[in-house]
């Protein structure tokens, strides 16, 4: 062994970055499988493209930085690709998926120095870049296969291939024909027309059960609260994440939504709606808990989760965008070094009442 002077401890618990990342990928399996059920080949294309391009981009970056290619084996690039794919709408064209993956790896991770040094969640930063650059594509939600007789058969390989590479024009269909509003989007647009939340949901034919199970429009991986919760509980059981961030994030959302819904139910949606809608579950269990961009200390994590909850709810209720979770997480990412500094745990022997 090359080490000259080895410091204790000489025993190790066996954990590794590879194992941690792989555990998260396993936790995403329910949501991934469900996304393929809902959106057929389009899901698969997006997932494969994003993961492949992420790995290739990282390989190129490692070469440029003269680092060993074995770093690819730590599964972090593959995981970022999978995350990004799950946040994309099903009709995302191939070149946007490629661009997003490149952004995620280069601007989200490698410019900071690689794994462990990025401030922002890489997948979310890419998603936001895509949203702001291509707002129409990023807010167009294909009708999922669970809906009654959708116009587009997403289990048809060649149709999906054409759509993926050449857009809806190749199928002689307009976007309007094959897409629908997401629950969040619908409620937001109706609110601008003065329609109350309850009426908007009725007009949408909204069902809490469908929202919980995931039979609704949205990004390919975010629709099923159930699938994501199963993944989240798996992560908690494996001790890959701790309860602090997800529970404080979701709890704050629920609390704020409940309070304001009680005060002005026409204007503010009920808590269950918020919990199952949009990317909340995905962000709370998977994105906000990304170890590199979230706080290290337990109290800090709770503060982080509360901040994410407040921001998500505020953007959803008062902001211009219907979905706020990804912005909220990125904004809280900025505050993480400060949170870590001020919310350190009390050290043994300090701070208690002096005897």
């Amino acid at each position: 062994m090359p080490m000259i002077m080895l410091s204790s401890p000489h025993a190790h618990g066996g954990d590794s970055i590879r194992m941690q990342m792989f555990t998260v990928m396993v936790a995403l399996l329910p949501a991934t499988l469900f996304s393929v059920y809902l959106f057929g080949w389009l899901s698969l294309f997006l997932i494969v493209t994003c993961m492949a391009v992420s790995l290739i981009t990282e390989a190129v970056c490692l070469k440029l930085m003269q680092r060993p290619l074995s770093t690819l084996l730590d599964n972090s690039a593959a995981l970022t690709g999978l995350f990004l794919a799950l946040t994309l709408p099903a009709a995302t064209p191939w070149w946007m998926a490629v661009l997003g993956s490149v952004f995620a790896i280069v601007l989200g991770k490698q410019v900071y120095g690689g794994l462990g040094y990025n401030i922002f969640n890489p997948a979310l930063s890419a998603r936001v870049i895509l949203l702001i650059s291509f707002p129409l594509n990023m807010t167009t939600w294909i009708v999922p296969m669970s809906a009654m007789q959708p116009l587009l058969d997403l289990y048809n390989f060649s149709d999906c291939l054409s759509l993926f590479f050449m857009g809806p024009d190749a199928l002689k269909l307009g976007f309007d024909a094959i897409s629908m509003a997401s629950p969040l989007g619908h409620v937001k647009t109706e609110a601008t027309l003065g329609v109350s939340v309850a009426e908007a949901l009725k007009a949408y034919d909204y069902s809490y059960l469908n929202a919980f199970l995931g039979f609704e429009a949205g990004s390919i991986g975010e629709t099923s609260a159930l699938a994501l919760m199963i993944g989240g509980i798996f992560l908690l059981a494996r001790h890959t994440i701790t309860w602090h961030i997800p529970f404080s994030f979701i709890g704050t959302m629920a609390l704020l939504a409940a309070i304001f819904n009680a005060i002005a139910p026409d204007q503010f949606a009920p808590p269950m709606f918020h919990l199952f809608a949009g990317g909340l579950m995905l962000c709370a269990f998977f994105m906000a808990t990304d170890p590199v961009s979230s706080p290290v200390t337990p109290v800090g994590q709770i503060v982080f989760g509360i901040g994410c909850g407040v921001l998500t709810w505020s953007i959803r209720s008062f902001g211009g965008y219907p979905e706020g979770a990804m912005f909220a997480v990125l904004l809280m990412n900025c505050a993480v070094p400060l949170i870590d500094h001020y919310f350190r745990p009390r050290v043994y022997g300090h701070g208690r009442d002096k005897s």
Partner: protein
Amino acid sequence: MAQRLGLMAHSFPGGVHPDQYKLTGELPIEDFPLSAVHILPMKQHIGETCSPLVAVGDRVLRGQKIAKAEGYVSVPVHAPTSGTVVKIEEHAIAHPSGMGMPSIFIESDGEDEVDESLAPITDWKNTEPTVLRERARMCGLAGLGGAVFPTFIKLVQDKRFPIETVILNGIECEPFLTNDHRLMAEYAAEIITGLAIIKHMVGAPSALIAIEDNKPEAISAMQEALIAADLDDVQVVVLPTRYPQGSEKQLIYSLTGREVPAGKLPMHVGIICQNVGTTKALFDAVVLGRALTERIVTVSGDALPNPANLRVRLGTPMRALLAHQGLDDLSQVQIVHGGPMMGERLSHADIPVVKSTNGVLALSKGFMRAAHTVEQPCIRCGHCSEACPVSLVPNLLADQCRSDQFEKAEAYDLFDCIECGCCSYVCPSNIPLVHYFRYGKGQVSLQRREQAFAEASRQRSESRDARIQREKDEKAARRSRVRKTHAPKPAAAEKEAAAKAGDVNSKPEETS
């Protein structure tokens, strides 16, 4: 009767559960034969180095003082067996750097004649604690749990800090090590007597004997001995197995809920902790009149054919211990002095057993590889912070130490780190966190020493300047006094001339 089995009331945060590897837990203590040469380093404790009292060619007896303590925080060194002093020179000690220290080499004569000059104090119950304290010092007792702090310093009655409870530390949470376990199983009566002596010395009304729950034989042996001894207000407390339960501060918290304030000692919260091995050595010193010349060593490891608990004379080369247990070729193993979590990895085995040697482990390269692989960047997962029993934030601390931000590291409580190794144990990136902390602590200590030296120099220089200035002032004062006495008196004629010439032209008066 107060001799019940108590349960832990508090739980320290963090901690880990390494595989225990108690391969020698059931094996009774065996005597290890005398070596041809015993090598005694001049410092086997925390504190000042001793100075040799013997010369080459002297004959010494077992238990004879061969090096005297220097300063207050120091205890003497004694000959482990009878023989002749053949050399006094530098020899490698059990430190990972491979550094050396002046050592006395004694060639055994095989007789093992004992120095009987110290009389047994059988009536210790009616002996002044100060006498017993001096006996502990004279016999070279130091903390045998591994910290080797001079025992007599702790065993004192300070009116400002009365001791309420004596805690006997029989936890032994390090994997592989079982010497305290076997001591308690086989010498429970002696340890209980030692505890009674300690209680008498510090004036403590109560005591707790803490044992981890993976030592059932030791627990029942100590219980029986306690009942037989019929001591007042002493309890055996069984604690769940968790590393580092045996760490003094964590143990005090688990048993009493009290935290030792930063920078202070357990006695400031009314507690004294003593390892069971040290307690047995105290019994030997007081009741049998024996100086510290041997200790129990667990010779073990996953690469050792015959692990065992051996009674070893101080100064025995570790190579002999490993060979005795079936390992001659050391090229494929790594040698660790102590336990795997906090022990020192040694680059070779020609190093003598000292007072702190509670274990000698032969670990396979595969075992070591798990802990010493390529370091990857920190992913800020926070597992280290969860595992830290002191509630530090190791990843931030290591980052600061590595980038030389020492003031920040001190502000983040670097010096509260007990170097237990829990953080490195759980790190998925295999970062050698404790290594960075040691570097940081070393640099800060160096800086503090340099600052103290610079401060002392500055003070010397300032007092010198002040002295020179003072001397100058004195000289000037003397000169002016002299001038005043011999100053010419202003003549009456001069005055007249000045008045005639007019005010404008008059000379200013001489000021003296």
